[in-house]
């Protein structure tokens, strides 16, 4: 019936030492390939190395120039209008402008994006509407930022939005302010938060929802208490990406924020007056101080560009950190993957 003893183990082979080194063999040598393949292979290596070279040189050059021209006094002093821009003032106002605009933009974008993503994944009826909304967000993602800026201008120059910016005596609405620019910036960031949230929600397996329903919770409560907290990492990733995009955008700033040197508050309500007023950001500062703008102070442009680059890189680094800590709980976001 049953075997009595387990089978005997083979005699222990003497430890052969380290595995043998790879001996020379007729490997897949490129010289045997067709000539088209060989050209492709060489071009491929060239492309890969060129990408590395260009990327590294851009980073190194910006760091070099930035460190060369950046002084702490620049960060903490206000820009001053003056004939010789290279000697006067810093970029505190544009820096504040960048921060303010980014916070404003992402604050408006996140609820709309989460709402839309949740509706599409969890409800999504009727189906034609869901597909339409999906395409809609893709269209917004693909629209050039200059077109969004012009749209913002025409939208916020209508009378009903007069409260958002400076309104002249005759009723003409200026249309340019932090509030209006912030609203349009939210359109820039929204597709990223939407995509990240939707990916996260779709990745949650069905049994999690079923378990919640089985305990008697409504769908709304499930979404609020179970699903959305578990995609926090995805939402944060999308938000960080969106903030990076807002911080780097120039066209909307130039058109919808006035791109002035300093923050020019409007009206008398403290707090709100800054939002209703115009200003500039680091991006418009760089643009204005480059030979393409009026300032012609390339040193300050480099310094401001360096700070801007630091902010954007920090945001993208945050994306990595969030993704890695989120991966520990089993949620993965793939941006070139951790492969």
């Amino acid at each position: 019936m049953a075997t009595s003893t387990p089978p005997a183990l083979p005699p222990l082979r003497p430890a052969g030492g380290a595995p043998p080194a790879r001996k020379r063999r007729a490997n897949e040598s490129v010289s045997t390939w067709r000539w088209t393949d060989r050209i492709g292979y060489v071009l491929m290596w060239g492309a890969g190395l060129l990408v590395c070279a260009i990327g590294l040189s851009i980073v190194v050059y910006m760091m070099f120039r930035g460190l060369q021209y950046l002084r702490p006094s620049l960060i903490f002093s206000h820009p001053q209008a003056g004939l010789d821009q290279s000697k006067t003032g810093g970029f505190l106002d544009p820096l504040l402008g960048t921060i303010l605009l980014t916070v404003l933009g992402i604050t408006i974008a996140v609820p709309i994006a989460i709402g839309a993503a949740t509706w599409i994944v969890e409800y999504g009826r009727p189906t034609w509407l869901a597909r339409l909304v999906d395409s809609g967000i893709e269209i917004i993602a693909g629209t050039p930022d200059i077109v969004i800026a012009l749209f913002g201008l025409v939208l916020f120059q209508q009378g009903i939005f007069g409260w958002m910016s400076f309104t002249a005596q005759g009723g003409a609405v200026f249309g340019r302010s932090f509030l209006t620019a912030g609203c349009m910036m939210s359109l820039i960031a929204m597709p990223m938060v939407f995509a990240a949230t939707r990916e996260g929600l779709q990745a949650i397996p069905g049994h999690v929802r079923e378990a919640s329903y089985a305990l008697g919770k409504t769908k709304a409560a499930t979404i609020r208490r179970v699903l959305l907290p578990s995609v926090k990492a995805n939402i944060s990733t999308g938000a960080a990406l969106g903030m990076g995009r807002i911080a780097g955008d120039t066209a909307i700033v130039v058109v919808l924020l006035g791109a002035t040197l300093t923050l020019d508050p409007e009206g008398g309500v403290p707090g709100l007056k800054v939002l209703k007023g115009t200003g500039g950001t680091l991006t418009s500062f760089v643009y204005n101080n480059s030979p393409a703008g009026e300032g012609n102070a390339p040193q300050k442009a480099y310094a401001a560009a360096f700070v801007l680059l630091l902010i954007v890189v920090a945001l993208n680094f945050a994306v990595d950190l969030i993704a890695r800590s989120g991966a520990k709980t089993g949620l993965e976001t793939s941006r070139l993957g951790a492969k």
């Binding site: 839309a116 509706w119 809609g136 749209f151 993208n316």
Partner: protein
């Protein structure tokens, strides 16, 4: 009412609220098209189809619009956008084609052939390049590349040859295309790499087991199966190239000049301008009604162009779905 917000939401209410947020998106798009078209109408009304043609020097036309002030006559609306359209087409097509080749090769490199050390370097580099704002690319362009091209690449003989038509100073089509390519390649690389990784390895292994070398196997099986993803990346990159305003505004020379292919190689050294860059450069004078209508007409054209791109890519993807490639 605050009490109603505090009590547990019913599913119906939640669905309606969330649905409303989703539909807000659709409303935004509809409003965008309508409002932009409304403001663009005067320009099309005055020019008709000749809006798209070359009607003389576009720069002259635009300065006339600025000078016309608050009450422009019909003549002030005259505008021929062809130099700008031509510039946009040139930069977009060149940058997309170059970028496609470049990014496809790099993506194959990253996925299959790169040694581990290089792969660990190239992936963060690509991600970094994708995140750099366009104004920084423009800064490098105008402070580094443009002087280099103007002083070292363009010989004085060349400058003399087109002296009577246009000044060659380094701000040129070449710089615009080069930087635009560098800008759009990282996005395409990222999407292509994701697409290549999504193809089952079993297919490539089967091809290699049949005695086909790794490059060929990669190209004829994996890349072929990933064509929808590659196309999606290309469309995204083209859309970005089409709408790129700031960087081109900084490096291209701000002259609405159509580079002349008949000039031979000098063609790439000639300045040009694109539709999007033109909007940015003239945005301070947007209050003048004639200028406003023209700029909004340009924006409408860009919007429609973007739609056409998405539609075209959707059409192009359909036949690919037949053989089971992941579309």
């Amino acid at each position: 009412m605050l009490e109603r917000l505090r009590e547990p939401w019913t599913d119906r209410r939640a669905e309606r609220v969330l649905g409303a947020l989703a539909c807000l998106v659709l409303l935004i798009i509809i409003f965008m098209i309508v409002f932009v078209a409304l403001r663009a109408w005067p320009s099309f009304r005055e020019n008709g189809l000749s809006w798209f043609s070359a009607k003389g020097n576009a720069d002259v036309q635009m300065s006339r619009m600025v000078n016309s002030g608050a009450n422009p006559t019909n003549a002030d609306y005259q505008f021929g956008a062809w130099p700008l359209i031509f510039g946009t087409l040139l930069t977009t097509v060149f940058a997309t084609v170059l970028g496609l080749v470049f990014s496809l090769l790099s993506a194959i490199f990253i996925v299959e052939f790169a040694p581990e050390g290089i792969r660990r370097l190239i992936v963060p580099v690509v991600r970094l390049l994708a995140a750099v704002p366009s104004v920084i690319y423009g800064l490098i362009g105008i402070l580094v590349l443009t002087p280099f091209v103007g002083n070292h690449l363009i010989s004085s003989g060349r400058k003399k040859s087109v002296e009577f038509v246009i000044q060659l100073s380094g701000t040129s089509l070449l710089v615009a295309v080069v930087i635009l390519t560098i800008m759009i390649t990282p996005i395409m690389i990222a999407i292509t790499v994701d697409g290549l990784y999504a193809i089952p390895r079993a297919w490539k292994e089967g091809a290699v087991a049949l005695g086909v070398n790794r490059w060929r196997a990669m190209w004829t099986v994996t890349v072929r199966a990933a064509r929808p993803a590659i196309m999606a990346g290309a469309v995204l990159a083209t859309a970005r190239a089409l709408g790129e305003a700031i960087m081109i505004a900084m490096v291209s020379g701000a002259k609405a000049f159509s580079p002349n292919p008949a000039d031979g190689l000098t063609f790439i050294f000639e300045p040009m301008n694109t539709l999007a860059a033109n909007i940015v450069q003239n945005s301070e004078s947007i209050n003048a009604p004639a200028m406003q209508a023209t700029l909004y007409a340009t924006a409408l054209l860009l919007l429609v162009g973007g739609f056409a791109l998405s539609l075209g890519s959707w059409i192009a993807k359909q036949p690919l779905k037949k053989y089971g490639t992941r579309a």
